[in-house]
Symmetry: C2
Subunit: 444 residues, 2 copies
Amino acid sequence: MRRAGFVLAFAAAPLLAQNVPDEIIQRELAASQAYETLSHLTDDIGQRLSGSANAAAAVRFTTERFRAWGIDVRNERVAVPHWVRGREEASLPTQHNQKIVLTALGGSVATPAEGITADVVEVTSFDELKQLGAKLRGKIVFFNVPMDMELVRARRSFDAYSKAVVYRGAGASRAAEYGAVAALIRSVGSDSLRTPHTGAMRYDPKQPKIPAAAMAAEDAMLVHRLLARRERVRMHLALTPRLLPDVMSANVVAEIRGSEHPEEIVLVGAHLDSWDLGTGAIDDGSGVAMVMETMRLIKQMNLKPRRTIRAVLFMNEENGLNGGRQYWASHKHEKHVAAIETDAGAAAPTGFSTTLKADALAALQARTKPLAAVNADRFEVTPETGADTSFIVESGVPGFGLVPDPLHYFDYHHTPADTLDKIDPKELAQDSAAVAALAWILAN
Amino acid sequence: MRRAGFVLAFAAAPLLAQNVPDEIIQRELAASQAYETLSHLTDDIGQRLSGSANAAAAVRFTTERFRAWGIDVRNERVAVPHWVRGREEASLPTQHNQKIVLTALGGSVATPAEGITADVVEVTSFDELKQLGAKLRGKIVFFNVPMDMELVRARRSFDAYSKAVVYRGAGASRAAEYGAVAALIRSVGSDSLRTPHTGAMRYDPKQPKIPAAAMAAEDAMLVHRLLARRERVRMHLALTPRLLPDVMSANVVAEIRGSEHPEEIVLVGAHLDSWDLGTGAIDDGSGVAMVMETMRLIKQMNLKPRRTIRAVLFMNEENGLNGGRQYWASHKHEKHVAAIETDAGAAAPTGFSTTLKADALAALQARTKPLAAVNADRFEVTPETGADTSFIVESGVPGFGLVPDPLHYFDYHHTPADTLDKIDPKELAQDSAAVAALAWILAN
């Protein structure tokens, strides 16, 4: 009965098709529920690292919420790694046992429980690593590569990130090749109050696995200063992470079937898992809230898209990408016409990245003018538009990525400080409006 | 021989008395060693909490450095508390074991090793605490009083601090009066990346001692949001600090005797101890560096002050003030004519606070114009000019306190982020020049 009343209320003032994106945006700005969704994900559930009880709680919560909104939803099984952070202790016996603040990189192996103690050698590139070669045997290698803050200030934060993060991903195995016993990086981030930034690393199966951690910027600068003064720097390092057996988790997949071409799918996705240090508000709880808001708006406005709009809350973006991979393995036979991903925070929208080329983009832009209401009508052509949807986009499906203002994204990224207070509810609503309106336009 | 040569070099270009403050300032700006002194204190020795091995190392290092500079120096024994931080763990079982970042307040007793679990009740004042009264029995009381950021932005940071910090000092005993089992505050600070700010608390001997800790601002905001949504918030809290037997430590006292009135003392002081989370760069390693620089300049310029200039590096300012108290107990029979303290960071100087009254201040200001070269010629009359010298100043001796720009002081104060990278060597040299020049002027 309540739903019938809802429909009638809208029937009294029918929406003209060309006005729908405007209406979606105005409705979202007036009565967004995105912040409330995000509050539950971050304040009540908290961190959602793959394999954790909290990640499972997030699957249940989002599934139940879609269902409560009357939206078809299912869980699609995904096996995920279950890496658990342990103790993280470091100090410099050569400097009065000065404490070093660091955090294990995701996937790192442990040191022996009692720790290791070794001399620290600093390098600033893989070339320098190679030159030192055999001198690295038995040493802790420190890759001292800060983010380029000029790029960050020019709002090219993601370029700055890409340049620095290669040492996080590959540093340990590259150092292990020369006999290093552990690898450290300077945290990849744009701010610090002694704040470590974690993130994934990969082992090269051809090399021995050595422990890997990120020092806070302050600690990286300290070790650099000591070595620059030609002091000997020995570090005691104890990391006790564990890789437990894989856990069966899930992507949460919700959809509103298309009225004319239900077989054509516009996918809108974000990732449900987070790192374990913070509560994953910017990365990527806010993206989850935007995707859910997209579905809620279209359902509650009783809109009927011509194509199917499918929301996917991917599991395990952070340390495996198993959700994105599994989704495509199961769904590549289906006809995807577009994939929108939102995984770049919730600052004020500036537009979208897209893989759409010249003519097709021009045709789309003729219909995306309503996005100007939230400053999201700018499209920048990029080769990649998101990690979870990369499998889809690489197969030729047009990709779109929401681009919130990136200036402060890496201040909080992968740190304990990625918490709800960093989110402006108005900006989150603007982002949600942009994603929902673009999804609607692409589906019609 | 080298010292004789040094003296001769100066004899060739004798300083006119009225030019000395200018010369001190120019020499410090041209060839400061303050940053190098501070580097050793912070990078090599690190945290210097009273009673720690590192605090003892700081006593040795500063004593030896004065001696190497040819300055008379002695250690004056001071018994200090030896409080050692233990594990600090908190989580919310009512919110999926959401982690809470906090740090024990200095002097706090421990919880049982397995921790306690209790409901959290929020108050914003002692009045509200009193109103709740018996409802607080068995609860964890959370004093949610942020620093007033408008005051901070108006550069009245120390006023904002004073208003908020009363709950840190007295909150635990006030809550214990009503049967609370632990007390939490919101960290008293002006910035946070999930950053706890520690600091001293006092127990009222009439009340039971309950554990006390400071949550990071983010965690305080989280608990506030949950309670504002009328959720039940239970917290599991485990703190294992220990109060070990007192340790015999020392004030480091160095002096350059006056040529005409050696019995008249101009004291210049800072504190050698620090909190244990950071490395005490702004609080108060930089003050120590300024005081040492004052003595080095006067000695190496071969200046002969008319009065004695005495440097005191006080031990235990942070959690007891035993050094300041002990100094005055031993030296109150001596004639102190002024006490300069520097314990407010090392940002660019803005002037001095002083207890000097109208006429006396006007007379002094006729001679402090050279301080304008480092923007330190402004004097603000205040009732207090420093903690360690408060015993001296309360007895009627004129007090002076260096006032660096306070805007960012409480961003780092008592946090792990109080590290050398927060110091600008040029600003530290300006501060050192200001302190040295004022000491010289007061001694002549």
